[in-house]
């Protein structure tokens, strides 16, 4: 897994929303939005698990 943060930040609080945008399922490229930050991940396995969790 590789990550590139848009801006450094602490972990989100439990009450804070976290939104994940899987940009490309095959490469596992996804953006994770929390607080005022965005982190880009490359994790094909996680992307696949997220996709499979959608019913």
């Amino acid at each position: 897994m590789a990550a590139a943060a848009d801006a450094p930040r602490a972990h989100p609080s439990p009450a804070e929303p976290v939104i994940v945008h899987v940009r490309d399922l095959r490469s596992g490229e996804m953006d994770v939005f929390a607080g005022e930050s965005k982190t880009r991940l490359h994790d094909p396995a996680l992307a696949a698990r997220l996709a499979h969790s959608v019913r």
């Binding site: 848009d6 801006a7 929303p17 939104i19 939005f33 005022e36």
Partner: protein, 463 residues
């Protein structure tokens, strides 16, 4: 319109849609500059029960560049919070609202103002929990509206005043005609009319924004806070500032059906921008408008071809056959409109107009440029520089300036002679107009901050 609904994406997000921007040396406080950014276009005054409010999830900003690089040296950031006194009622108010803390006022909005400068982190909080006025509803709900709204002008200390709330639309324009294939009613008998012969004689202009409201964010700031230190006199480049406004939203949103609310998170991204009036409206092409809205002025070199070869300049001779022969020849020559580039992208250098300059250097950037050393005019001309009034547009912009006529005439070639002495503007270039003046606005402008008129009430408008 000046910038109302000017781009596809922002036209679907009215609370973040900047409509007009004003920057001028305050006529009654000439050691200050007034900055006003308007949002939420075309408000029908009776639009309740959820009357208009700023977006709680929108970050509104007014930026000032004082070193000519097209990037903000000072940013004023406005953040809004809505509060309900009683979520059990469906009413905006449960009785007359006679003060900003009236117990009858259910749906209120408050805001904070921060000043940010490069390198100072999260900046300085200038004010918080500042009350917006209610919208102007009618004689029962808001019986003394003018004085009620005036009480929402907040003094932040250090010579700074702020106001955020509903105002009468001060921008006047004949939208209905202009968007009907470039019709200008005072000259519509000269329009080609696509062979349909609809108009046989001139007609007076119709102000399409009459009776409508907007939401204004107004700030009055000492000139010394905005310009570089040591600014002195009209010819000093340090006296010139560039101003623009932006609205930003967080990048990611989902609609949470369990609460009926939209949840937003992630970094703020710019969704709306406004410097000079009518630019993203008329100059920038449809395919680039949304992207233009996301960028700072510093990157405007990529859009310079739109200013150099505006589509409207080519359209006028086609729409009005025989009326603009010299403009037609200029367009056909392919020469760049250096006049428009100077007025809109760099500011006008010294030596072109006697006693005036508002040049910010070589960086092409769409900003409303104001030479703060030009004193307010005792007898303003709504045509600004074109009318010999150095204190008006495009030296900043006052609330009553006729920017539609000024830009029509400039695009029609009137200002090209300033940069090419061999060019003779068409006679029509100094006459073309949509037929409106500041007297076309029903609600009088104010002589003091926030200068835009008392908003129209829902009870009386339309009447």
């Amino acid at each position: 319109m000046s910038s109302h609904r000017e781009a596809p994406e922002i036209s679907m997000d009215p609370v973040a849609d900047s409509t007009d921007l004003y920057a001028f040396v305050s006529p009654d406080q000439p050691d200050t500059v007034t900055l006003i950014a308007n949002y939420i276009p075309l408000q029908e005054p009776a639009g309740g029960p959820n009357f208009y409010q700023f977006g709680d999830s929108v970050r509104y900003e007014i930026h000032v560049d004082n070193d000519g690089d097209g990037l903000a040296d000072i940013t004023y950031r406005f953040t809004f919070t809505s509060r309900l006194r009683d979520p059990e009622t469906f009413l905006y108010n449960t009785g007359p609202i006679t003060s900003l803390n009236s117990p009858n006022w259910n749906s209120r909005q408050f805001y904070s103002v921060r000043r940010l400068m490069p390198g100072d982190g999260t900046g300085t909080e200038l004010g918080k929990d500042l009350a917006c006025p209610p919208c102007n509803i009618g004689p029962l709900s808001t019986p003394h509206y003018a004085s009620l709204a005036a009480s929402a002008v907040h003094d932040l200390g250090s010579g700074i005043k702020v106001f955020a709330g509903q105002r009468a639309e001060g921008f006047y324009v004949d939208l209905g005609a202009i968007f009907d294939l470039g019709d200008l009613r005072p000259f519509e008998n000269l329009h080609a009319q696509y062979g349909m012969h609809v108009f046989s004689s001139p007609a007076p202009g119709v102000n399409a924004t009459n009776g409508l409201n907007v939401h204004s964010i107004g700030l009055q700031v000492p000139i010394t806070e905005l310009v570089q230190k040591g600014a002195s006199g009209v010819s000093d480049p340090k006296s010139v500032i560039g101003v623009w406004t932006t609205a930003s939203r967080q990048s990611a949103s989902v609609f949470d059906a369990t609460t009926g609310k939209t949840v937003s998170t992630g970094p703020f991204r710019q969704v709306s921008r406004l410097g000079n009036p009518l630019i993203n409206e008329v100059i920038i092409a449809l395919g680039d408008k949304d992207r233009w809205n996301t960028l700072p002025p510093a990157g405007d070199k990529q859009f310079a071809h739109y200013y150099a070869h505006p589509g409207l300049a080519a359209a006028l001779p086609a729409l009005y056959p025989g009326v603009f022969p010299n403009l037609a020849a200029l367009v056909k020559s392919g020469k760049a409109r250096a006049d428009l580039e100077a007025i809109l992208l760099t500011g006008i250098p010294g030596g072109i107009i006697s006693g005036f300059q508002n040049n910010t250097g070589p960086v092409l950037s769409d900003m409303l440029r104001l030479n703060t050393a030009i004193k307010p005019s005792n007898s303003p001309n709504i045509l600004g520089l074109l009318g010999g009034d150095l204190a008006g547009f495009p030296n900043g912009r006052r609330v009553f300036d006729d920017i539609v006529t000024v830009e029509l005439r400039a695009v029609a070639g009137l200002t090209y002679a300033l940069v090419d002495k061999s060019f003779t503007p068409d006679a029509a270039a100094s006459k073309v107009t949509d037929g409106l003046t500041d007297t076309s606005v029903k609600a009088p402008y104010l002589s003091t901050f926030p200068y835009l008129g008392v908003p129209y009430s829902g009870f009386y408008n339309p009447s």
